[in-house]
């Protein structure tokens, strides 16, 4: 019985990862769980320069979900390598650094520096809905249709996605995972563009662009007006998108979106995901990743599945 999986050259002891931005820099969870048991940990998104993030309120609860507009707050790549990486290196689990930039060249630079620092894998955050243009230089491939000017995401455009992945590919021998936004018409073609550019894996979905209003004050509940919706509310849509993408690409797909239980994770795996990322659930139950791993093991045992690989994409459609 095996639940080990591979994302390109990255071997994971199990298919459960913790999503970027929901697990801090991992150290925050050491009092709750045995970190070494997690399939892989993904850092909070790192940018070249420090970013102070968005104005509060930054989080708001919604039915079966939450909105966030953190705004990629982080202390920059140098700080990550010097202050955070030493702790992560000691873990007996895979460490993936999430990175974001305004231009392809920034992703390439980040990939290069992290590769040099010995990080084996990067997840390109091509999909944070909280990046604003006044905080980042002009993105040339911006679509005109966006209601919020200057707020187009890289993974809303297949050419842009291709360009960024390609640029990062040139700079690192490590594993590249492209994290995609669900705020598109056809996520499968974006996933294909990432694959064509040399990504080892695609992860989806990031949050859905959303908002919430206080009817008494008539003000948006988030300081940033809009933010990203996550949590169980988005799971069925995320699952559909993962199923679509998994049929289109040959590289492993990582399923993300409202996973709270082992059953949720198994749905994504059966739909075609090689691995899953647990996100919002970490805030509510800091031990959830371990509980999901145990649940998957129990399922595999019960259904006498010798290798989890036999379960991936095993959805039965008449």
């Amino acid at each position: 019985m095996s639940i080990a999986v591979c994302l390109g050259g990255l071997k994971l002891k199990n298919p459960v990862l913790v999503a970027s931005g929901t697990f801090g820099y991992t150290e925050e969870f050491k009092g709750f769980v045995d970190l070494n048991k997690i399939g892989a940990v993904i850092s909070k998104t790192i940018t070249l320069e420090p970013r102070q993030g968005n104005a509060p309120p930054r989080v708001v609860e919604t039915p079966s979900g939450m909105l966030n507009s953190i705004g990629l707050e982080n202390d920059g790549v140098k700080h990550f390598i010097v202050e955070k990486l030493p702790f992560l290196r000691k873990l007996k689990t895979q460490v993936i650094a999430s990175i974001a930039g305004a231009r392809a060249a920034e992703y390439a630079e980040l990939a290069k520096r992290l590769d040099a620092a010995g990080v084996l894998a990067v997840e390109l955050n091509l999909s944070c809905p909280n990046l604003k243009s006044h905080q980042s230089p002009v993105i040339p491939w911006r679509a005109q249709a966006s209601h919020q000017k200057n707020n187009q995401l890289i993974s809303q455009d297949k050419k842009a996605t291709y360009g960024v992945v390609k640029a990062a590919r040139k700079m690192t021998k490590g594993v590249i995972i492209a994290k995609l936004t669900p705020n598109v018409t056809d996520i499968a073609e974006i996933a294909k563009a990432a694959e064509d550019a040399g990504a080892d894996s695609v992860s989806l979905v990031n949050t859905f662009l959303a908002m919430s209003i206080d009817v008494n004050s008539r003000r948006p509940k988030l300081g940033n007006i809009t933010g990203g919706l996550s949590g169980p509310a988005i799971k069925p849509i995320a699952l559909r998108m993962v199923w679509e993408a998994a049929q289109k690409v040959k590289i492993p797909v990582i399923g993300i979106g409202g996973i709270m239980t082992a059953e949720d994770a198994l749905e994504f795996i059966i739909a075609g995901a090689t691995a899953v990322e647990v996100g919002t659930a970490n805030f509510i139950n800091p031990r959830v990743s371990i509980e999901i791993i145990e649940g998957i093991k129990g399922y595999i045992r019960k259904h006498k599945i010798s290798n989890i690989k036999n379960l991936i994409g095993s959805i039965e459609i008449q």
Binding site: G21, E28, P56, S64, P286
Partner: protein, 293 residues
């Protein structure tokens, strides 16, 4: 910091929509400091999804008590929980009130509570009493502010601790009519409590008492009082102003929406003189010197 399922000892209604829930939580009770909080998972289901932050109201042996008001769906569900049921809590979280400055001969603490802001302050008063039991004249003034008489909470608890309790209500139905911060300013400006018992400033400041507010504010004498406060944002903003104006060290407990409570979501930031700080991890108690006016 522990993530534990704890037994509900009691969940009692106090007045119209206030409740006190008592939890058997020996680990949390053993470590908790006044000003710290817990994150409670109200439902095993997804409604509400996120945990709710609650100040630790009191620690009684191996038990902790939470004082809450029904505000929304979460507290509504919590109010229906029965003794014997279990509640999933994480805590103690955050940094408590700095008690070092309150220690010592002739010192005095002024506790200011606005509405439900009283929640963490009873624990604080109990702690202050227990760390200074030898000093009989160690005075704790407690200023309780509320909208109406019905909303004034914990008056008896503070009196039982020997605190000098002053009340202010918006409608004047109990105590002073007006804002609690007006009462505080009066105390700070005159150097005396309203009852005239006990000096707020140490010897040497006496000559300053005849001066007007502005002149007083200019005095650089180190006052022997510290202010601890919790309440609505405008009240804490006013206290921040008063603390600067009267050179009084003050700590306030802030509130902000948060998803996790332990520094992972980065949701609960507050703007300070040194940039954004996390209410959950770097707070919830902040020295007013750090805060923006």
């Amino acid at each position: 910091m522990f993530c534990v399922k704890v037994k509900i000892i009691s969940n009692k209604k106090i007045g119209q929509k206030y409740f006190k829930i008592r939890l058997e939580a020996p680990k949390i009770a053993g470590e908790a400091l006044p000003g710290q909080f817990v994150m409670a998972r109200i439902s095993d289901d997804y409604e509400p999804l996120l945990r709710r932050p609650f100040s630790i109201h009191r620690v009684i042996g191996k038990e902790i008590e939470i004082f809450y008001e029904i505000k929304g769906k979460g507290t509504e569900i919590l109010s229906k929980k029965k003794a014997g049921e279990y509640l999933d809590v994480i805590g103690p979280l955050g940094n408590g009130f700095d008690l070092r400055r309150a220690k010592g001969e002739g010192r005095r603490a002024i506790i200011v509570a606005g509405g439900m802001g009283v929640a963490p302050l009873t624990f604080l008063a109990e702690k202050l009493r227990s760390i200074e039991p030898r000093i009989s004249n160690f005075e704790i003034a407690v200023l309780l502010g509320a909208r109406t008489k019905e909303q004034v909470s914990c008056e008896k608890e503070f009196k039982n601790l020997g605190c000098d309790v002053k009340i202010a209500t918006d409608d004047g139905s109990h105590g002073f009519k007006g804002r609690i911060t007006e009462l505080l300013e009066e105390i700070l400006a005159t150097g005396y409590t309203l009852t005239g018992t006990g000096r707020l400033y140490p010897y040497g400041h006496k000559q300053a008492t005849g001066k007007n507010k502005k002149q007083l504010a200019a005095c650089s004498l180190q006052p022997a009082a510290v202010v601890y406060a919790c309440g609505p944002k405008p009240m804490l903003k006013e206290i921040t102003r008063l603390a600067e104006c009267y050179h009084i060290p003050a700590w306030v407990s802030l509130e902000e929406y948060m998803a996790c409570g332990f520094g992972a979501c980065l949701g609960c930031v507050v703007q300070t003189k040194n940039g954004y700080k996390y209410v959950c991890k770097e707070g919830p108690v902040f020295n007013t010197e750090e805060l923006l006016p």
